[in-house]
């Protein structure tokens, strides 16, 4: 009987090891030899009681960044936007020798994410990014234990008043407004469908902005919104899209990583799609018109500059159309882009110079 228990325990461990293995892989661009211990954060290690390595590296040492993300780095949405931005920063700063990057992806269990955040902090990373508003309380708890490490979390504006926490947010209502304006112009049925995840954070901002843009452009357009209550339920997202199409929608949009299911249905029914967070053109080249893409590198560079100058936190950043953190990227193969390009440019300019004011419903 003991043998059996042992065998079973072994098996369970194996299963856990395999399941842990996917979330914590080193960035492909990083040579594995430079920081072997970073690739496999030991989840059980107690917090270091002695202060971690000093954060002011001599010029020869790389700037070390660790990021914890709720979904996969290739989700074509929220997590990918941050990962791609970090790769671009890495390239600008001179590659892996100057900028070390490790990540933990698919950390949808907040406890696991908290363990990873603590591990990275105790390993002396210069900047630990908790890329998900659900990680806020973990950051609030962990950051005071590592006063020499800088933390960044988003999307939010709340730094908890801690001197070593940066907050960042996307003004996703701006790109949403642009997408909405274009969608209202392109819709012939005057019905537009929105597939949302949970009514919160940047998803809500995007959806509200989209609605405002569509209604401001054409008051006769009806925007139907559907929150499916999940960031991962691809099947329900797909059924939500089908529901919109049955209700007469001929233009759809949606936000968060589960929309891949919705895009498939939109393509089947040949209705137009507007994307956000990452460029979603590759998923359905025939129907995607434009995507609002997050470029976090601008604010990441600002944070890094501040850290190198000795300021470890206490500020919040917002990416907007004006500061280049949000870019509306068009599908070069879309046949309808030409019809709305002028309107898009005009709307973007209007938001940047303040002539267009986006009024969001009060929460």
């Amino acid at each position: 009987m003991k043998n059996i228990v042992r065998l079973f325990g072994l098996f369970l461990l194996l299963a856990l090891a395999v399941s842990a293995c996917a979330p914590a892989t080193p960035a492909p661009t990083e040579p594995a030899a430079t920081e072997p211990q970073a690739t496999e954060p030991p989840a059980t290690e107690p917090p270091a009681t002695e202060p971690p390595a000093p954060t002011e590296p001599p010029a020869a040492e790389p700037f070390r960044v660790a990021v914890v993300m709720p979904s996969a780095i290739n989700d074509l949405a929220f997590s990918q936007s941050m990962y791609d931005a970090l790769l671009r920063v890495q390239e600008e700063m001179g590659g892996p020798d100057a900028f070390e990057l490790v990540y933990s992806e698919s950390m949808f269990v907040v406890d696991d994410a908290a363990a990873a955040i603590r591990d990275y902090a105790s390993q002396g990373f210069n900047l630990v990014i908790a890329h998900g508003s659900q990680y806020g309380s973990s950051v609030q708890e962990i950051a005071p234990d590592f006063p020499e490490t800088s933390f960044a979390w988003g999307t939010t504006v709340d730094t908890f008043g801690l001197p070593n926490v940066f907050a960042y947010e996307a003004a996703s209502q701006e790109g949403g407004y642009v997408n909405g304006a274009l969608a209202a112009t392109l819709s012939t049925s005057k019905v537009i469908g929105v597939v949302g995840p949970i009514e919160t954070g940047d998803a809500k901002l995007y959806v509200d902005g989209f609605k405002a843009g569509a209604e401001a452009t054409n008051p006769d357009v009806q925007v139907n919104v559907n929150y499916i209550g999940s960031f991962s339920d691809v099947a329900l997202a797909s059924e939500a899209a089908t529901t919109h199409i049955s209700a007469g929608a001929d233009v759809l949009t949606g936000t968060a990583q589960m929309v891949v299911g919705a895009i498939g249905k939109a393509e089947e029914a040949d209705v137009l799609w507007f994307g956000t967070q990452s460029n979603q053109t590759s998923l359905a080249p025939s129907i995607v018109v434009a995507s609002q893409v997050y470029h976090w590198e601008g604010i990441l560079n600002e944070m890094i500059a501040k850290i190198q100058a000795g300021t470890l936190g206490g500020e919040s950043f917002v990416i907007t159309l004006a500061n280049g953190g949000e870019v509306v990227e068009f599908n070069p193969d879309s046949t309808v882009v030409a019809d709305v390009q002028a309107l898009a440019d005009e709307t973007i300019q209007g938001i940047i110079d303040g002539t267009i004011e986006i009024t969001l419903p009060s929460p």
Partner: protein, 310 residues
């Protein structure tokens, strides 16, 4: 706006999408019904579905053959079932815990393979909708019942088939007796181990197809953790359906219809907060479970390992 809910378009929409949404539940829950009727609770359904979904997607993408994809999902599910059977039947491991282990294995493994072999979300051309000649032209009904993809039809044909096997065949009798009283079955010469192996492998195979029905028929994409708890709901539906294929069908349809109803409620702008709307299917499931708990009885040997007395 409430009255909009009773228009023909909406009713057809609710029924048609309810029938689609119920498909993966049916495969997984019918498979789980066989396992539980023989006395084995398999909580690894979700993991088997995920690996099945990935295998089907990957094979369909690389070979262009959807049936090879389904076959791959069946093999992967069956192998997972075989391992589960070995652990629970031969090693007498606690069923609930080993099921969770298999779930985590399937979750991690499918993610790992996805990262290594695909790297990004891609789409595949899945099973097309099949319009049954004549029947699909009937207004309303045609769209609901006779314009679905092949895996949807097979799922519904599986229900009477499972009912027949469980209730009208010797094999079904053996399965039920092993689940109710393994000692008695054993003394009559029925191999408890062999029957349980059979049902768990069958369950795994069907869970694999459940995954395939998502990745190459209903959604035509693979994304990490795309089943998002569906497999666990399938296990709950077996309890809900009182271990009977027809009950499982009823539960799967009810749950899915309420889910598509709540999608329509939001689309029609009926002023119910979205958080409340998405709760509806779950709340209703709990209510029905509570109401039915007194009249049904689980297979007596469910979760109990069988050890022949020396």
């Amino acid at each position: 706006m409430i009255s909009d809910l009773f228009s023909v378009t909406v009713l057809i929409g609710i029924l048609a999408s309810g029938i689609r949404l119920a498909t993966p539940y049916l495969y997984a829950a019918i498979g789980e019904t066989f396992g539980q009727r023989s006395g084995v609770l398999n909580l690894g359904v979700e993991g088997q579905m995920l690996l099945g979904a990935f295998a089907a997607f990957y094979v369909a993408l690389t070979t262009g053959n959807l049936w090879l994809g389904v076959l791959a999902a069946m093999i992967v599910g069956a192998v997972m079932g075989l391992a589960m059977a070995y652990v629970t039947v031969n090693l007498h491991a606690q069923q609930g815990i080993s099921g969770i282990g298999f779930y985590l294995f399937g979750l991690g493994m499918s993610d790992l393979l996805f990262q290594k072999l695909l790297g990004t979300v891609e789409t595949v051309k899945g099973f097309p909708k099949i319009h049954i000649p004549g029947l699909s032209d009937i207004p309303g009904i045609g769209e609901i019942f006779f314009s679905q993809n092949l895996l949807v039809y097979i799922a519904y044909l599986l229900v009477p088939l499972a009912w027949f096997v469980l209730n009208k065949t010797t094999l079904g009798l053996k399965i039920r007796s092993v689940g109710e009283n393994p000692e008695a079955a054993d003394s009559l010469g029925v191999s408890v181990a062999r029957i349980r192996y059979l049902t768990i492998i069958l369950g795994g195979t069907l869970s694999g197809i459940a995954g395939a029905s998502l990745s190459i028929a209903l959604l035509n994409v693979f994304q990490q953790n795309m089943t998002s708890g569906l497999g666990f709901i399938a296990v709950a539906l077996v309890y809900f359906g009182a271990w009977r294929p027809l009950g499982v069908l009823g539960g799967a349809l009810l749950f899915s219809m309420i889910n598509s109803l709540q999608l329509w409620i939001q689309v029609l702008g009926i002023p119910i907060p979205s958080d409340i709307a998405v709760m509806m299917p779950y709340v209703l499931t709990i209510l029905v479970l509570v109401a039915s708990v007194s009249r049904v009885r689980a297979p007596s040997a469910l979760t109990k390992p069988f050890e022949r007395e020396a």
